[in-house]
Symmetry: C2
């Protein structure tokens, strides 16, 4: 079993361990999976059971600012609020950053401004960890390419490996035990008419993290065995739809894939249902609109929010039916 | 492929085709499956993909009154309302009854009073068709035993074969192509403390019948392949829990089985979600109560209603949390 340190050594071999930049700010977009990542084959390295595919959220993501400190302790602010060193998020972040430091590396003052709600199924940890590795790359002056940064981001949070790019990104699961072939690959397809509509049911913290939920599902769901097969079918279909600009197939397949993921959760022990009554109402509303010939689909991550998929031409219609929607233009 | 007529001939061989009773009333209880029937291996004979297990609802069911008519057309009343001969229900009922009539058999005046909401996932067709075969048995004086009546009821509606008895009934799927071994078997277990709580989200007609929903699921869901395996595990566990009077296992397994059935529907194309926002709210409420150590579980059929499972001792508590609940005492 390979360790995170082993992977980092492979990627940083010959690179500087000295800080090259006193202060900087980087940005990484959040991403929404159209074909989901659900279940790990290796929990240490966040190696997935299947490949997955996402769309970047352009201006929704994480701004990561760092500054070298002449103090004994790291400092962290999240969305302009101080995060205590006992906090889970503080510990998760710095135990990741510590993988890249020696005892003599100076402490940091870190300021993360996330434009997506934290831990509400909106991929905040994806953009967060992608921005962290971009920040470290600048701090140490490694000049790594995005593929290497994607592997490093994956060590922080699996789906972060898709947040190094905007647009469509495929996370290729890879086959190697050390995960050196498990990373994001940006797709060349551009789709300027595509729109994502965010429907936020709640920005409260989730009752179970996606990390724990996917582990529980993989261990206890009688249906999980068929998930890899479902992904394989859906991923092929989504990539074909992207090439052919076939929006109905893209929407239908993405929605089906999300529902299949939630179906594996329903059959976990204990069951996991991220939907609130609001989520159910939105789903029924989307299906009703489709019956009325509006081309709108949804996807749902490990939380109660829905993300609508539709095309520019239907914007007015969507705004009329979902007054609370926040519309993202990914291209 | 055997026909319904073939099966009926097997069972009624040597029996009278003449009416023996001018007028009569029979009753059959509705039943709630704790391990669900979902998917047919033979749609003509309603032969199931798996066995299933239910609890009868005692006083909730169908009263079937018949009277021989000296007229050209059958008459039907459902819950004191005349049903037109163009109505789906009229046609389904009389095409079933016609299987047992010759051209010279007199017409009937039929009066069904159902104490369960029709077509709202409350097994109204189960008690309905079970009461019909009991009525025909009286009308023709066949004096068939309940096992033979169970096979006949199955030809009208699959789950009707479990409604010939009160208490726990297993529908043994059988292996024969003619279905002569696919019928209900009453279990000897009695559980006087058991309570069923009906939560009716809506008594409106369903958007898709359970008959169509199970066919669509079997044909299109990527997860349906694992359903028979799930049932086999759950059925064994439920029967063991009944023998051992292990209520937690009974509740947990029944709830998991229902959620697995709904998971197969979510992954059908198009998706089927019978839950309304009210259903989702009730589920979350049940799970919250379990966290607070109240031993309550739910099951859900092809509709938005929930059926709670709990024990007599928790009645006050349940009434406090679900003001709208209707409590059934099956024993």
């Amino acid at each position: 079993m390979y360790s995170k340190e082993y992977v980092i050594d492979q990627i940083l071999s010959g690179k500087s361990k000295q800080i090259q930049l006193e202060k900087g700010t980087v940005y990484a977009p959040a991403n929404i999976a159209l074909c989901k990542y659900w279940g790990k084959r290796n929990r240490t390295l966040n190696l997935p059971m299947t490949s997955s595919l996402s769309i970047g959220l352009a201006q929704k993501g994480s701004h990561f600012a760092f500054e070298v400190l002449d103090e004994k302790l790291d400092r962290l602010m999240l969305n302009r609020t101080v995060v205590n060193d006992q906090d889970d998020f503080y510990q998760r972040l710095f135990s990741f950053i510590n993988l890249f430091r020696t005892s003599s590396t100076p402490r940091l003052d870190i300021n993360i401004n996330s434009t997506v709600p934290i831990a509400a199924g909106l991929a905040s940890s994806a953009s967060g960890f992608a921005s962290v590795v971009k920040g470290l790359n600048a701090l140490y002056g490694w000049q790594l390419n995005d593929s290497d940064l994607s592997i490093l981001a994956r060590l922080g949070s699996g789906s972060a490996c898709r947040s190094l790019w905007s647009g469509f990104v495929e996370w290729q699961m890879g086959a190697r035990d050390d995960g050196m072939d498990s990373l994001g690959l940006p797709l060349t397809c551009i789709w300027p008419q595509l729109r994502i509509g965010l429907l936020l049911a709640s920005s409260e913290k989730k009752s179970i993290s996606s990390r724990d939920a996917m582990a529980l599902t993989k261990e206890t769901s009688g249906f999980y065995a068929l998930w890899p097969q479902q992904v394989s079918i859906d991923l092929t279909q989504i990539k074909k739809a992207l090439v052919e600009k076939d929006f109905s197939t893209l929407g239908q397949t993405s929605e089906r894939n999300a529902l299949a993921m939630h179906a594996t959760m329903l059959t976990a022990t204990p069951s996991i249902l991220y939907s609130t009554p609001q989520t159910t109402a939105w789903m029924q509303h989307v299906w009703q609109l489709r019956k009325d010939n509006v081309d709108v689909y949804f996807t749902q991550d490990a939380g109660p929010n829905l993300k609508l998929l539709f095309l520019e031409k239907d914007t007015e219609n969507i705004l009329q039916h979902f007054a609370e929607v926040e519309i993202i233009q990914p291209f």
